[in-house]
């Protein structure tokens, strides 16, 4: 469902992503791991068509910048950016209108708001929301159009324990529904139980791809066997 082939992204002289290829199939959870500066966020943004790159990315067989691909893709950014002057409910209305969703969206929207504890806060403005609530509305906006592939960039940062539990449950139910999920995270523990394929990134490359059925030991063991205990810290790219 999410297919990346030979993706290279440069910021001037800096090679942020170097010939990356990966595939996340329908009903799979793919996890992107790597130290700061490994190129995870750049890869995520490229997959979502927010950056120019060399190589190819397809969503459900459609080039990632096409309208068809955009219809199939949901994106939860690392930094949630709600519109300050729109209410929570209006964010969902806007997505429903912009994506030309059919009449059933309201029911789904209500379900999502209930699930993320936002039901009684529908008339709160974007600028009044805490970081955690901003993250929740960001997740709701991404899931409302019923995408076939969802890309999460550090989705658990800023969420309260209830939000984390709900998001994990949502991710699992998305997998059950046959949706392809790609998650970039620093919190290895959070994905330890629920992953199908992990891509460990280092210096802009995928240093290792681990399938769950091939894994020996925990995700953390796999990560540190590649990255080591003293991985250089850099800036997020």
């Amino acid at each position: 469902m999410i297919t990346v082939f030979n993706l290279t992204k440069r910021y001037g002289k800096l090679l942020a992503n170097d010939g990356i290829s990966l595939n996340v199939s329908a009903g799979e959870i793919g996890v992107l791991l790597g130290p700061n500066g490994a190129g995870k966020s750049t890869l995520i943004k490229s997959i979502c068509g927010l950056l120019r790159f060399e190589g190819s990315v397809s969503i459900g067989g459609h080039e990632c910048r096409s309208e068809e691909a955009k219809r199939l893709l949901g994106y939860v950014p690392e930094i949630p950016a709600p519109y300050p002057m729109l209410t929570i409910d209006e964010h969902l209305q806007f997505i429903a209108k912009a994506y030309r969703l059919d009449g059933t969206w309201r029911e789904r929207a209500d379900g999502l708001l209930r699930r993320f504890d936002l039901d009684d806060k529908r008339n709160k403005l974007g600028k009044e929301l805490s970081k955690g609530m901003q993250q929740k509305i960001s997740v709701c906006c991404a899931l409302l159009p019923e995408p076939k592939a969802v890309v999460f960039d550090e989705p658990l940062v800023g969420l309260d324990p209830h939000g984390i539990r709900e998001l994990k449950n949502v991710i699992l139910s998305l997998r059950r529904e046959g949706i392809a999920i790609l998650i970039s995270t620093h919190i290895i523990d959070s994905m330890e139980e629920n992953w199908d394929v992990t891509f460990i990134m280092r210096d802009g490359k995928i240093a290792r791809e681990v399938r769950r059925d091939q894994a020996i030991g925990s995700l953390e063991d796999a990560y540190f066997s590649i990255i080591g205990d003293t991985a250089a810290e850099g800036q997020g790219t």
Binding site: C48, S66, F94, R100
Partner: protein, 536 residues
């Protein structure tokens, strides 16, 4: 070396080294200096316009006063709400918890603000050519720079003192508000008296007000403006008196905190945190002009439209929620009133020639186009490109571009109508010139939007705001040259003013269409920009 002096000097040295090592920044600063030198050099060219001596320097006093008034109002309102931004977050985190005397830290904060303001105020030298019309040379501009710097630093310290004295004390806040109004009462009374004395002659009464002691002795604003003009006019004693008062007040304000309240850290914490949060958001690409602190009451809700048009309906909802006046609020009325006042002053000034109505009207058009550069350049259409939603909406890119900018075009057309009808009626120019100016104003908006999008094709991600603004301004100037030249040549050849301005409008339409054509598909083929702060 003292730790605070070390911090101040070392950060300054590192900033300089960073500029020297970073080619992009170095180019930006060199470009800036070249522009500055060019503007200064142009001011040495002799005037070849119609006769008449320099404008009355009293107007310059008024202009400086009004400009500083803006900073004064901001400082008072910040003082009443969040305190002063004398310190950065790193000072709060590292200095405030260190065993350094808070009094020394305060002096460090003042020195740091002075250093920052000294750099930020360099833009005044870009006004050298404008100030030439008052008979002010480069040395006069340097005096203005000094006066402006002094006044802005004193207002910053005043903000901190106000916060320090009124934080958590509503009655004191009311008192400060009353005192602020009281400060301007003599000025208001003088304005009314002058208006009556001149028989309702607005330009004459305004000029008399600018030269009145009521303005000169208004604390901070009056002292700074009168001091600058006194020094420029060679009245050294008067200049020393006004600047002396300013320095004395600044010193007294520092003394209030230095002696009376060394425990001021809490008073700067909120402002530092707020400023830091905004910078962080800007660095993360969350550029927003909706930072207003006032509480917004949600009444009507809902968003209409379908597909790309939902963007337009969303913008309307956001605009009407942010201001009850919607698209045309107080800024539009202020622009219309300003243009009308400008026309009134020029047309009825004592040395006005027969062409004064058209000249004043066209000058007002020029000023309004210049202002539009800032309002459209950072308008909602541009801000929409800084968040991911518009890129992910499954609609054709050109449709998203059009709907995303429809609001600002409608706003410009309506605003242009109000501004130029007001200025045109006051100046007494023909309806054709008014209508064509409205069109010219709306079409310039079209050009600016086009440049915004086209720049995304070349800019890439991680744009430095300083470089962006400079390139943007340069791009607009270069692009508008043919249209402006066509208009000027037509006017010199004897064409009617409406025809000359119309030629500029035709060029804008042509340029706008080319820019939009060249930006085809941009929303699906560019890097989503992340605006970095100036200098970062």
């Amino acid at each position: 070396m003292n730790s605070l002096a070390f911090l101040l000097l070392r950060t300054f040295r590192n900033s300089l080294l960073e500029i020297l090592r970073n080619k992009k920044k170095l180019t930006m600063y060199i470009l800036f200096l070249v522009l500055l030198a060019a503007v200064t050099a142009v001011s040495f060219l002799p005037n070849n316009g119609e006769g008449g001596g320099p404008a009355d320097i009293g107007w310059l006093t008024g202009a400086i006063f009004c400009y500083l008034l803006l900073f004064f109002v901001i400082a008072v309102s910040q003082g009443l709400s969040q305190g002063s931004t004398l310190f950065e977050m790193e000072d709060v985190n590292l200095l405030f918890v260190s065993p350094v005397d808070p009094r020394s830290v305060l002096l460090y904060g003042v020195a740091r603000v002075m250093r920052n303001m000294a750099l930020a105020s360099v833009f005044i030298f870009f006004q050298t050519n404008t100030l030439k019309s008052f008979g002010v040379g480069v040395s006069g501009v340097a005096i203005l720079y000094g006066g402006y710097l002094l006044a802005t630093v004193v207002t910053q310290i005043m903000g901190l003192v106000i916060y320090s004295l009124t934080n958590g004390k509503p009655r004191r806040k009311t008192l400060v508000k009353a005192l602020t109004v009281l400060l301007f009462l003599p000025l208001i009374a003088t304005a009314v008296w002058q208006l009556a004395d001149t028989g309702g002659n607005l330009p004459a009464s305004l000029l008399a007000l600018c030269k009145s002691p009521a303005m000169a002795f208004t604390p901070i604003l009056g002292w700074a403006s009168a001091g600058v003009v006194a020094f420029i006019g060679g009245q050294i004693a008067a200049g020393v008196l006004y600047f002396g008062l300013l320095i004395l007040l600044g010193g007294a304000l520092v003394a209030v905190i230095y002696i009376g309240k060394p425990d001021y850290y809490e008073d700067v914490l909120v402002a530092s945190e707020t400023a830091f949060e905004r910078k962080r958001e800007a660095a993360e690409g969350k550029v927003s002009l909706d930072h207003q602190q006032k509480r917004v009451r949600v009444k009507a809700t809902g968003i209409g439209g379908f597909g790309a048009s939902a963007l337009f309906r969303k913008h309307l909802r956001e605009t009407f929620r942010a201001s009850r006046f919607g698209l045309w609020g107080i800024p539009t009325l202020a622009k219309a009133a300003g243009a009308a006042l400008f026309a009134q002053i020029v047309v009825h000034s004592s040395d006005a020639g027969p062409n004064a109505p058209v000249i004043s009207f066209v000058a007002a058009l020029g000023i309004m186009l210049y202002l539009q550069f800032f309002t459209v350049g950072m308008g909602r259409g541009f801000r929409e490109t800084l968040v991911h939603y518009i890129y992910l909406i499954p609609e054709p890119p050109y449709r998203k571009m059009l709907w995303s900018n429809l609001e600002i075009v409608i706003k410009a057309a309506g605003e242009g109508f109000l501004i130029f009808v007001a200025a045109g009626v006051v100046a007494g120019v023909g309806a054709a010139l008014i209508l064509i100016s409205v069109l010219c104003y709306a079409l310039f908006c079209f050009v600016l939007i086009g440049i915004n999008y086209l720049s995304m094709r070349f800019a890439g991600t991680n744009i430095n705001a300083g470089i962006l603004v400079m390139l943007y301004m340069l791009g607009v100037i270069v692009l508008m040259v043919p249209g402006v030249l066509a208009a000027v040549f037509a006017a010199l050849a004897g064409a009617a003013p409406a025809v000359a301005v119309g030629l500029l409008g035709v060029w804008e339409l042509l340029a706008g269409c080319i820019l939009f054509w060249a930006s085809k598909g941009i929303l699906h083929t560019c890097d989503m920009p992340v605006i970095r702060q100036f200098g970062k």
